[in-house]
Symmetry: C2
Subunit: 472 residues, 2 copies
């Protein structure tokens, strides 16, 4: 049989700009051709072939493969891999698919998986289980590890305490480089890899960190206190993961100690988890701003319909609100039908200008470039931008409207409405996310619907209202 | 004088949900109160005070401080810091502000900065300079380093070659752990920190990598070939940085070797740079989808107006296109003014439903969850979702319209138009970004404007067209 990983020919000739990207595609263990080959093998009940193709994959790639299969194929593959199934794969799965796979593996296999995984991955797996199932799995785990996992689960969802790994390397400050190296060569249960060695005081509070590379470059008699870095960030275990991600990004960290309320070192957060969080948080903001409540392209149609329906339903209500504003002016529209033709223009321009402001504000807050304190400064700037753009678009729109309908009054009216609505858009685009943030909500989630309500209502009301005042 | 870092009292009482975030705020070196204090010191020409406040800051925090000041304050601060100014700060600055600071420091100071920085930061600084200035700076740098920097600049913009650090640790495969440690203790010019030691063959091609932690835990006589990992990703120097970021995210990497076309090891990319890229790429997608062409809340009003104007101008043209579609039906509107009232509803619903589809597709492509090959599968799913939501909203909208205008015909017409437009929205939301991607454009940039054109035109045309056919 031909190896599908080599037979991956592009379906369509890519333009010049995409060559480099395709060159890089060979770096991934999973190719579309391999997915097809595994799917075909599963369909034709050649389980051994599927297993042979899937076995060499990196856990992250195997997770992607499982995600791309349909439900029936997934079941066959996971069952076929069974004992060979690397539990680390679970940590890489999309939430939706993870639940399915956990279900397929059953509590016994999951309990063994939890023991094999490092604590951060184990907690990540456990937090998704229902309470009864979680209990069942925890009871099957050795007592010492169980205590660590239970502590992890006691921290709030999405906190540093949930995210941290408990396995870490701590040494007392009076040791030398040589003592530390000897200790590490002898110690049985050190983590697989680590980016910091923590120097702790007798109460287990971190007082310094040493990169392994630094230790390697120092001579044996050197004291740890001479080479340790004392200026490091300690993350409170209750800190939100978004905050952890911001800290890592702000200071370019690779790992950071997590401390209890009493300041004791209880774990370490590493950058690989943070990369996932940064991606996910940005992803969430993008999807929320786009009106998609829940992430994941692997959700079944039924659930996706439900998630999107809710958002569209709220939008429909605001659309009817806008329609009822138009309804106030039925008499005017009856007399001058040209108004109906031009009416959506101000509303649409306002919606787009407001979305620009909103997007900038939401993102600036998400990456801490802006806080509530900066609100006034940002609002003034956005108002200035909108006023200038408002005047420019008033002239352009008025000009086109004049040329079209040969009526200078309509031109003046649509121009004035444009200025009014663009200023309303800047105001709403700044104030709405700030207000949501202040009230403790995620500004990405519901800002857009409030914004377009404002710009539609103001847009229609200003245009038709001015027309009623001055044309009738 | 009171230390402003301690006097940072919150301006407004935060709700319960925000407590944890505020607790974490103390982890940052830069507080709003400190920004205010520095700004005040600069305004009152107390340069020494400003310097004293800024000096203890981490380079990333100092960069943030400089960004938050206005242009005049920036100039005073950078001049006041002068020789104390840590060149690493430049690497943390927003592009807009970076250009200003480089201008302020002048070519001599920049040339010295380039020599002090590691190669990746130095290339990052150099690539922003104009050609003549770049030449001037490079000429002032020692020859050996200059060659490395020139090589870096020869790689395409946004490639792994630009991103990589040239300083790395390479060892031959026949060495033992002991030999390696002795070499590192003796070597004068090793990088400050590193996460991998590369084992290379005589042609300098990487054949394995060893984490420093692994080396520390191994006994001195152990051969490197016994402990090195052979399954690692080699990044071609010409690979795009977005692709590099995807690789790091996919496999949870912390560092990865960069190789020339001949397979020689020429540099290393580390995760701290990748974290920035992941943030920036996601940021760009968010802003582009929101119709904001260029990032950065520190751009002056004039430039921001220009960037946003272009986008709004295109939107205005499409709004007039939609208006001209309405214009086709002036006679119909003249006769039944209720249509004008309901007319924006279908267009608005279509725009929102299409944005949902578009957002999901653009993001799935950005994080490689979806490629062109998956287009057909995704399109079918999106059409199914839209058909279901279309029918549901046809019933709801028709029901409300009936109750409002007491006319079953209008209810049927708006319901039918709703189904048609939601299906058009799913089609456009999937096909537009795929087509842009296929043509080699960034689908995040211009998808939205094409989409809303489709949903506006189809929305108005379907509703008013059906009304003209069946009501007149």
């Amino acid at each position: 049989m031909e190896d599908p990983r080599e037979g991956a020919t592009p379906v369509i000739a890519p333009p010049e700009a995409r060559r480099d990207r395709d060159a890089a595609a060979s770096l991934y263990g999973l190719t579309p051709a391999l997915v097809d080959a595994v799917a075909a093998a599963l369909e034709e009940e050649r389980a051994a072939d599927a297993r042979r193709l899937a076995r060499p994959l990196h856990p992250a790639d195997l997770a992607d493969l499982i995600e791309r299969l349909d439900e029936a194929q997934r079941r066959t593959l996971v069952t076929a891999l069974s004992e060979e199934f690397d539990p680390e794969v679970i940590a890489w799965l999309d939430e939706q698919v993870r639940d399915e796979v956990i279900e397929l593996l059953g509590p016994d296999r999951i309990a063994r998986a939890v023991s094999e995984l490092e604590t951060d991955d184990a907690v990540y797996l456990l937090e998704d289980l229902e309470e009864a199932e979680q209990r069942e799995v925890l009871d099957a785990v050795p007592a010492g590890e169980r205590a660590l996992l239970e502590q992890g689960l006691d921290f709030p969802e999405d906190s540093a305490g949930r995210l941290m790994r408990r396995e870490l390397v701590t040494v007392p400050p009076h040791w030398t480089v040589g003592q530390t190296i000897d200790f590490m060569r002898g110690a049985a249960s050190l983590p697989d890899n680590f980016y910091e060695i923590f120097v702790v005081d007798p109460r287990h509070r971190p007082i310094g960190t040493i990169a392994p590379a630094r230790l390697l470059r120092s001579k044996r008699p050197v004291k740890l206190t001479e080479i340790m870095g004392g200026d490091f960030k300690q993350i409170p275990a209750v800190a939100d993961q978004e905050e952890v991600a911001n800290l890592f990004r702000q200071y370019g960290l690779v790992s950071a100690p997590v401390v209890s309320e009493a300041g004791r070192l209880i774990g370490v957060v590493t950058v690989d988890d943070v990369v996932q969080i940064i991606s996910e948080e940005a992803q969430e903001d993008i999807l929320h701003l786009g009106g998609v409540a829940d992430t994941g392209i692997y959700r079944p149609v039924r659930e996706t319909v439900k998630g999107r329906f809710n958002w569209l339903f709220i939008n429909l209500l605001t659309a009817f609100l806008a329609a009822s504003v138009i309804g106030l002016f039925e008499d005017t529209l009856q007399k001058i039908v040209a108004l109906a033709v031009l009416m959506p223009i101000c509303a649409s321009q306002g919606g787009n200008a407001g979305t620009q402001t909103l997007t900038v504000v939401v993102r600036a807050m998400a990456v801490r470039e802006m806080t509530l304190r900066d609100g006034w400064r940002v609002l003034r700037k956005e108002l200035a931008i909108s006023a200038i753009n408002g005047v420019l678009f008033a002239l352009i729109t008025g000009g086109i409207a004049w040329a079209w309908f040969r009526d200078p009054a309509i031109a003046v009216i649509i121009g004035s409405a444009m200025i009014i609505n663009l200023i309303a858009a800047a105001l709403a685009g700044t104030v709405i996310p700030l207000a949501l943030e202040w009230l403790g909500f995620d500004p990405a989630i519901s800002s857009v619907v409030f914004l377009t309500t404002v710009t539609d209502v103001v847009g229609f009301f200003a245009f038709l209202g001015l027309a009623t005042l001055f044309l009738l």
